[in-house]
Symmetry: C2
Subunit: 308 residues, 2 copies
């Protein structure tokens, strides 16, 4: 049981839409989550970096998660972000996710204080895991040094797996450095490893990765899923080249505002483009350029015809 | 009224002691705050970086602040840290501080997402100030780029002062870069500017600074206060040299664990040394070395005879 993969495939860090009052918009959020599952996502990671999770309040995060479960999304498919700077709040969010039946949690390290020791980071995770005190807890470590600055070195990963077998079961590697992902896969074959970008999906799968958890799954889950489903097929390289090119085209824009602008456009719902400070919306001219360039060069479009 | 300084002098970012259960220890916290005022602190900034504020939970912060006020500390002397990554939680903490009558709040910028635009940071502060919606709110901007990575450039400071006169009234500069502090003092003479280290206290006062807010005020407020009180006296340079030397000696150790180890030693209360992850306590041998070196070289000691 303990070695069975809990998550695999294509997982979207779900964007968080806001209403005109600046508060999270539960209706748009649920619609987007359901659409992502229709598009081929095998799981959802609400409250990731792409979700503007760290701009949300503690209560906002818990309420939005409850909305997804109340709307009928299988909590086993949910891997909400629950890691914050604060030990106390990380325990509150993690226990809440476990109590809702979430299949896992994606945990940032405490990221305010820079240069923490391996012992300090180990103690943080140990205290969260012991504080939650529930065997149903499945922790996915969230390594994103370009943003969090604080990350997971190989020895720390090894200590956590060894001390908490069956609890620390996976890792998202958003280092953007394939050699780091490859080193983790080689060192810890039992770990469910997800590169943080679909650029590394095919290489990852060949080396034992479980799938990918990527910002752009919010708009291209369908194409990414095709690579996941047919990675042993003859045309896998060609499919991978397509999703790599689209990802690189998207990276020309500020990612979160651009993703929201694309959804706003194709849903015909301008309010979707709203972001929470410190982000600012993509300027209209930039948004038009993104929409046009992506359509012309990559045949990019979004189909909400099937959406609720 | 609007131009009258609200805070000045020697302000301690109050250390947060923990109990054996790992929770904040309100009794030790109140005792320490009262002792700091006896030692010469003119104000207290609970929930600064030194306070391990970002390792505390939302509820923990609010409860501890209420303890200080309930214990009779004049809230006009309190400048709690209320800035978090999250817009929603920053509003909750800031409103709570204003409702308690706090003289000001010390606000970090949202620090998770790196490289935010000036517009995005401006919008964050605008939304907090408008969200709290209370003329009694006095905001002190907390510039600490070595830790937060995100900071306040001069144009942003200027925009905030201009848009929110009488609300954005001060700044703590923990850049560690005197030329930055000098530039802010020159550009914004009306701002209450506090260098984040007493190393810059005398230079700061000569250029119009309001005082200092410094980690080491937790153990050397008395000596720092003497510089503040007699900065125009003939022996000011000599007094400044003394507090500079002590600060530099303290900086040889991890600051927060070292400060707690010193207090634990001189209070004869080993539990005081506890820190919350991601920090780890100073190893016993290091603590003994720090105590001995500081005593031998700087005549350093702490006197809790008058303490409650």
């Amino acid at each position: 049981m303990e070695t069975e993969a809990r998550f695999s495939g294509v997982i979207a860090p779900v964007l968080t839409p806001f209403g005109e009052d600046g508060n999270p918009d539960a209706g748009r959020f649920i619609d987007h989550a359901q659409w992502l599952l229709q598009e081929g996502c095998t799981g959802l990671a609400p409250f990731g970096t792409t979700s503007e999770a760290n701009s949300l309040g503690l209560e906002e995060r818990m309420e939005l998660l409850e909305e997804l479960v109340d709307d009928g999304i299988d909590p086993a498919k949910l891997m909400p972000g629950t890691g914050t700077c604060s030990l106390a709040d990380s325990i509150i969010l993690t226990r809440h996710a476990v109590d809702l039946g979430c299949g896992g949690v994606l945990m940032l390290p405490p990221f305010y204080y820079k240069g923490p020791s391996e012992d300090g980071l180990f103690r943080f995770f140990a205290e969260v895991i012991e504080g939650v005190g529930d065997d149903k807890l499945k922790v996915y470590l969230y390594h994103i040094p370009p943003v969090a600055q604080v990350g997971f070195a190989l020895p720390l990963i090894g200590r956590l797996i060894k001390e908490f077998p069956g609890t620390v079961v996976g890792l998202k590697d958003s280092s953007g450095d394939w050699s780091n992902t490859a080193a983790i896969l080689a060192a810890h074959p039992q770990l469910e490893v997800f590169p943080g970008s679909e650029v590394f999906l095919l290489d990852g799968l060949k080396h034992g990765a479980a799938g990918c958890i990527s910002a752009t799954c919010n708009v291209s889950a369908n194409a990414i899923r095709k690579v996941y489903d047919s990675w042993k097929a003859p045309d896998a390289e060609g499919l991978q080249a397509g999703i790599t090119a689209l990802r690189k085209a998207l990276q020309a824009y500020p990612m979160i505002p651009a993703l929201k602008a694309l959804i706003a456009h194709y849903r015909g719902d301008p309010g979707w483009a709203q972001v929470r400070p410190p982000f600012v919306p993509l300027p209209a001219a930039e948004a038009e350029k993104a929409i046009r360039t992506l359509a012309d060069t990559h045949g990019f479009t979004l189909d909400f015809a099937k959406a609720a």
